[in-house]
Amino acid sequence: MRRSFLHEYRYLKFLLFIVPAFGTWFIFALWPNLEIFYLAFYKWNGISKVKTFVGFDNFNNLFLDPSLPKAILNTAFYVLFLFMIQNIIAVLLAVILKRNTGSNNFFRTLFFSPLVLSTVMVAMTWGYMYDPNLGVINNVLGSIGLKSLQVDWLGASGRAILCIVLVHIWHNMGYAITLILAGLQTIPDTLYEAADVEGSNRVNTFFNITLPLLLPTLLRVSLLTIIGGALAFDYVYTLGGSMTVSEFDTLAVYMFRVMNYGVNVGRPSTVGVLIACIIFIVFLMQFVLTKKVEDSYN
């Protein structure tokens, strides 16, 4: 009887083992994030013992703020540039670097190495490079006779977003390549051998074998890219203005700026709710799409 009880309820001990870790994560990571859904309906200065319930007032004020549409647009551009440029380059590089040769290993390490640097340090360094007056990019262009290409890289909104995305890609390319390389390893070599025998060239092989079988991995990488872009903060904040709203602030940076005004914690909470909703919708779409792709392969 006793043995049967222990055997039947052995799952309880597994549950008990994960409770401390889960509890810590819940209290210090998940709960504070969930609290924004509560604070979004209150006006609170962060130091008062009184929170005033204001209903949807914070949301109304958010949508009246003329900076919000700009922040949403900047975020959309950021995600679009990041998604297209990073994923295309990462796939091409991963295919080229797939084989385990000495030079491939060297280049894999080279592409991965920027990841060990801190984000702020990378952004600050690129900020100095992008400086329109003293930066190395404009100085090099001037010295090789391309003065017409000397521009204020972070001056115009669209160009600034693209420049910041390039910094993001430079820093994180190694991570995307690693994930796609892992996906490539799951494609059996026999398929490539069969394609060789059939006389398929590299381009046909890529589009008809590699890409379709890589699709599930690409969808996952895409989701990470989209979330990373939607929550882009470090690069944008460091390269943008530190004191006040900048023309190319993304939603995450906009949320931080609003928080800095310090008079109402409810306002940045509404931005947090908005970001969470957008990401949740993207996650759902990706989930449905991945399921459909995986089902089609099955």
Binding site: I47, T244, V263
Partner: protein
């Protein structure tokens, strides 16, 4: 049997989650309305009998965001502790002001871990007073030596809640050597400044280095508005916006004139190229590398001039507006305050009083290179004579404005200044656009 087991697991899981919810909820704000006003709490704290003189050493916590002052502050603390053996200071400087305020706010909410703290002269100062977290320092001895202007700044509703450590002027630094080479002198007025910059540009010395990449139009706008109309007028402007009273910005002539000055600065192209993207460090570099003969900067750099722009013989002058010359603009530095719920109120107040004596202020100002707010202080550092000279010509200090709705209008005003100064937008159109935003925000009903 299987049904029973899964039910048991479900029930146990629910108990675990419920426990976690309860634990997560513990210690948070209950949200229960506390009808005691901030003022009442302050009065209560102020009238609380001073803690009995400690028979054994007490330790008070002093926290600040001014990590740059660590060396001089440690010296002053050592001096204080030698004069007051029963009081120890636990000094905690934090360089990251974002993290500093998060910690400070958490400490004041819990009532623990802070006795003396520094605060920016911003909306936070007024918020902390409203919530009753600041002790009234009106009765302390230092008020006798405290300059009237500084006292006005830190006094709210007739009570002084802080000691303003100093002020930093934001004005133009100029390279004396380049000025001599080009044959120009300190500008007498705005038109003179435009002419001087033109001559400097002819000799490839660029325009005025301005860190628009970081501060956008805010610094220049604040300087112009305060120089033009003075702190009281600026206070009125900001308060009128916050309370929804402001409907036509042009009615405030000084503010409108300041906006016109911003527009003229853009049209005259006297700022360095691409100022909208020049960061703080880069504006210093332009001045240090002699690519710009003039730089708009705060006088806090007096303390770091040997590293920021070594070998440059510099002078200062106030940035002239269209109507005013020679009057400079200054921003208040940190305000040292006492936590009203401190267990060692008397000791904390004693420490603040100590910091604000002429002798100790001289030590601090000499290291921090600021303009003092205490009478009878002998400032002896490179640049102090320049500061004294400018003080005599006139300085308008940015006031602390007691506002509650900055989240509803501040971005729009910053955008106004940026668009006029850095993008050359039309003043009247931008003002009309701002007024439209303010109207939609309905600030009158948000009090």
């Amino acid at each position: 049997m299987i049904m029973k087991k899964s039910k048991l697991i479900s029930v146990l899981s629910l108990i675990v989650f419920a426990f976690l919810f309860v634990v997560a909820g513990c210690g948070g704000n209950t949200g229960a309305a506390d009808k005691t006003t901030g003022q009442d709490q302050t009065t209560q704290a102020a009238t609380t009998q001073a803690t009995t003189v400690a028979q054994e050493p007490v330790t008070i916590n002093f926290t600040t965001f001014r990590a740059d002052d660590e060396a001089v502050m440690k010296k002053l603390i050592e001096k204080f502790e030698s004069e007051n053996p029963l009081i120890k200071i636990n000094y905690d400087p934090q360089k990251d002001s974002g993290a500093y305020y998060q910690t400070l706010k958490a400490n004041v909410l819990t009532g623990e871990g802070v006795d003396v703290f520094d605060i920016h002269p911003s909306v936070d100062y007024a918020s902390f007073i409203r919530e009753g977290y600041m002790a009234d320092l009106s009765a302390l001895d230092f008020n006798g030596n405290y300059m009237d202007g500084a006292k006005t700044l830190t006094t709210i509703d007739g009570k002084n809640y802080g000691y303003l450590n100093g002020v930093n002027m934001i004005l133009c630094f100029y390279n004396k050597e380049i000025f001599k080479e080009v044959g120009v002198d300190v500008p007498k007025d705005f038109n003179d400044l435009v002419s001087i910059v033109g001559k400097l540009k002819e000799k490839n010395y660029g325009g005025i280095a301005y860190c628009g990449g970081d501060v956008k139009g805010v610094w220049m706008a604040a300087a112009m508005m305060n120089e033009e109309g003075g702190p009281e007028n600026y206070n009125k402007y900001v308060t009128d916006i916050d309370t929804g009273v402001m409907t036509n910005i042009k009615d405030n002539a000084a503010i409108y004139s300041a906006m016109k000055t911003l527009s003229e600065i853009n049209k005259s192209k006297i700022l360095y190229d691409n100022s909208a993207s020049v960061k703080y460090d880069q504006s210093l570099a332009l001045f240090a590398q002699k690519k710009a003969a003039i730089m708009m900067m705060g006088t806090w750099v007096f303390g770091t001039s040997e590293t920021d722009f070594p070998g440059i013989d510099y002078g200062i002058f106030a940035f002239p507006t269209l109507n005013k010359s020679n009057v400079a603009y200054a921003e208040p530095a940190q305000i040292t305050c006492v936590f009203s719920k401190s267990k060692y109120l008397e000791q904390a107040q004693k420490f603040v009083n100590f910091l604000a004596t002429p002798e100790n202020t001289s030590i601090y100002i000499g290291a921090a290179k600021m303009t003092t707010t205490i009478k009878g202080v002998n400032a002896d550092f490179k640049g102090s004579e320049m500061l004294s000279e400018q003080m005599e010509k006139g300085v308008n200090v940015l006031p602390i404005v007691n506002v509650k709705n900055t989240d509803l209008w501040q971005t729009a005003t910053f955008t106004l200044y940026e668009n006029i100064l850095l993008k050359g937008a039309d003043v009247d159109k931008e003002i009309a656009s701002l007024e439209e935003i303010l109207k939609k925000a309905d600030l009158k009903n948000k009090q």
